[in-house]
């Protein structure tokens, strides 16, 4: 069953057309890896899934509702900002630059959003936060300030922070691209565990090893549209288009990276 659907997404920034009519469906419980050269529109597409960016033409539906808009009288009308914010609470997002709140401790980074919205008792919330920190291997860092953590630790906190909202889907925007190479694996490990638990995930990434091991589907984008999509085996071992072959030659090839 599809939980997230992109329908005929067009987007331009000035004269630069970054998305040219993208259609994509994400099934519940599936892991979709979106790969492709930089500038292909992957991140822009992902940011439309929670309304951080708005399509010029087309729409995104999440859980049956249009993201950030209502369909009325033949056109789309922006939702009230409060309603759009409410909708986002079910959609977790992890950013390339982590974007932890630097003035709050790790624990308060996790607790902030739920404390504003949920009626869950403080003690339960705190216990859940500790549980999630434990899950990402950072239970001892609850009171640390973000700046004192390594990039890999910060990104794991960011994942835990998103999970605090009990999202129905997790979006990852190049979650390991800003990390030193030796810190990539600790983040991918957490993401793999999350996939194993059945979380619906859309991951924009350059990590072909992760795509091969975890993805149910790999989507290859170039020049603002999806060129190819299929199972990781199909795509990584037998790409059909020349664009995909050239891309895979440049990025790490499946098979020569140590599997987890």
């Amino acid at each position: 069953m599809s939980v997230l659907e992109f329908v005929n997404i067009h987007k331009s920034f000035g004269d630069n057309e970054v998305l040219t009519g993208v259609d994509l469906t994400v099934d519940e419980g599936s892991v979709t890896c979106v790969v492709g050269p930089s500038g292909s529109g992957k991140s822009t597409l992902l940011r439309m899934a929670n309304g951080l960016t708005t399509p010029d033409v087309g729409y995104v539906t999440f859980d049956g509702a249009i993201v950030g808009h209502e369909y009325r009288g033949g056109s789309l009308h922006a939702m009230k900002r409060v309603d759009a914010a409410t909708q986002r609470r079910d959609i977790g997002m992890v950013f390339q630059q982590f974007n932890l709140f630097p003035h709050l401790s790790v624990m308060r980074n996790l607790m902030l959003a739920p404390s504003l919205f949920s009626t869950e008792p403080e003690a339960d919330r705190r216990a859940r936060a500790m549980g999630l920190l434990d899950q990402v291997g950072l239970a001892d860092k609850a009171e640390a300030m973000p700046r004192t953590l390594s990039g890999g630790q910060q990104q794991r906190v960011a994942i835990a922070r998103a999970l605090m909202m009990r999202p129905k889907i997790m979006l990852f925007d190049e979650p390991t691209s800003a990390l030193d190479p030796e810190l990539v694996d600790e983040v991918l490990r957490v993401m793999k565990a999350l996939a194993k638990d059945g979380m619906t995930m859309v991951v924009v990434t350059h990590e072909m090893g992760f795509a091969r091991d975890v993805a149910d589907r790999v989507v290859f984008m170039a020049d603002g549209n999806i060129i190819e999509s299929g199972s990781p085996e199909e795509f990584l071992l037998n790409p059909r288009t020349d664009r995909a072959k050239a891309f895979l030659k440049r990025y790490a090839v499946a098979g020569d990276e140590a599997a987890e």
Partner: protein
């Protein structure tokens, strides 16, 4: 990508040992700083001379200064000055915040309004604003507020009774100060990385929640020093309200000197109080800065230690 950063540093250490004649444990020579001594002596001499000539000047009676420092009228004037400054500062911050948000909004009407507001109240001298606000009754003699298209009148009053001099002074100070504050607030907000707002949005925070919990607390660190500066400026600007008859510190001092003709002494009394209040404000600023920066300073130190251990 990372290859470039990982390349080993080129060999710069000379292969041979110590240069002949220079001991290995050589240390930095003590510098004499002769110029520094001369400067210090000259400056101290000038300061001593000024203080001395002021102290022995037969035209300044220090007993009079001391006598009026705690005079009831002076203290009442000081209270008015403080009330003016604090009330105007609080209101100016609120108005400035709104104007700053207008400026940052996507709505061109709000943007234009904020630009015009800034242009008008930053270009008008504060003294002119005070005079206009204080004399507003000259061109709006009565304030009448009614229900449109009916004869119902809600308020109809003499302007001078609705806007006494104190209120006029506050209005003028707020208009002036909020224009400056809004620019300080705007630059503070813009100093916060856009990723912060995005992360807050992605977690489902509303615009105002993310401003209040995420953006403004981080912007505040940048804003405190210039805002404190602005407060001190405002505090001193309050002296100008004497032109519309608000009984502030300076007005009280001048009222007294009009009777006893001790002009300089009473101006010195006012000066002493301004020095005291400004000093207190500076202490408050330092406290705020330390409070807001404390976590960060510690973090930076820890990061350095971590880096060294690594």
């Amino acid at each position: 990508m990372s290859d470039a950063t990982r390349r080993p540093a080129p060999e710069t250490v000379p292969a041979s040992g110590a240069t002949a004649g220079i001991p290995r444990d050589v240390s930095l020579a003590r510098q004499p700083h002769i110029g520094r001594w001369i400067t210090a002596i000259v400056i101290i001499a000038i300061v001593v001379w000024i203080v001395y000539s002021a102290a022995v000047n037969p035209n300044i009676s220090w007993e009079v200064v001391g006598h009026y420092l705690l005079n009831t009228n002076i203290l009442e004037g000081l209270l008015v000055t403080l009330e003016l400054a604090v009330i105007a500062q609080v209101l100016a911050l609120i108005v400035g915040l709104v104007i700053a948000f207008f400026r940052l909004s996507n709505n061109p009407v709000l943007q234009a309004f904020s630009v015009a507001y800034l242009w008008l109240f930053r270009s008008t001298p504060i003294l002119v604003l005070i005079l206009i606000a204080g004399n507003i009754a000259l061109f709006i003699p009565r304030i009448t507020i009614g229900v449109p298209f009916t004869d119902v009148v809600l308020i109809d009053a003499n302007t001078n009774s609705v806007i006494p001099a104190f209120v006029a002074a506050v209005i003028a100070l707020v208009l002036h100060d909020s224009a400056y504050d809004s620019e300080i607030i705007r630059s503070g907000i813009q100093s916060v990385d856009t990723g912060q707002q995005e992360a807050a949005s992605a977690l489902g925070l509303t615009w105002w929640q993310s401003q209040r919990k995420i953006v403004l607390p981080q912007a505040l660190r940048v804003m405190v020093p210039p805002l404190a500066n602005q407060f001190v400026t405002l505090l001193k600007s309050t002296a100008l309200v004497s032109v519309i008859g608000v009984t502030d510190l300076l007005t009280e001092a001048q009222n007294i000197s009009a009777n006893n003709l001790r002009t300089i002494e009473l101006l010195l009394v006012a000066t002493v109080w301004f020095l005291v209040v400004t000093s207190l404000a500076s202490v408050g600023q330092r406290y705020l800065e330390r409070r807001l920066g404390r976590g960060n300073a510690q973090q930076r130190r820890k990061t350095v230690v971590r880096a060294e251990q690594a």
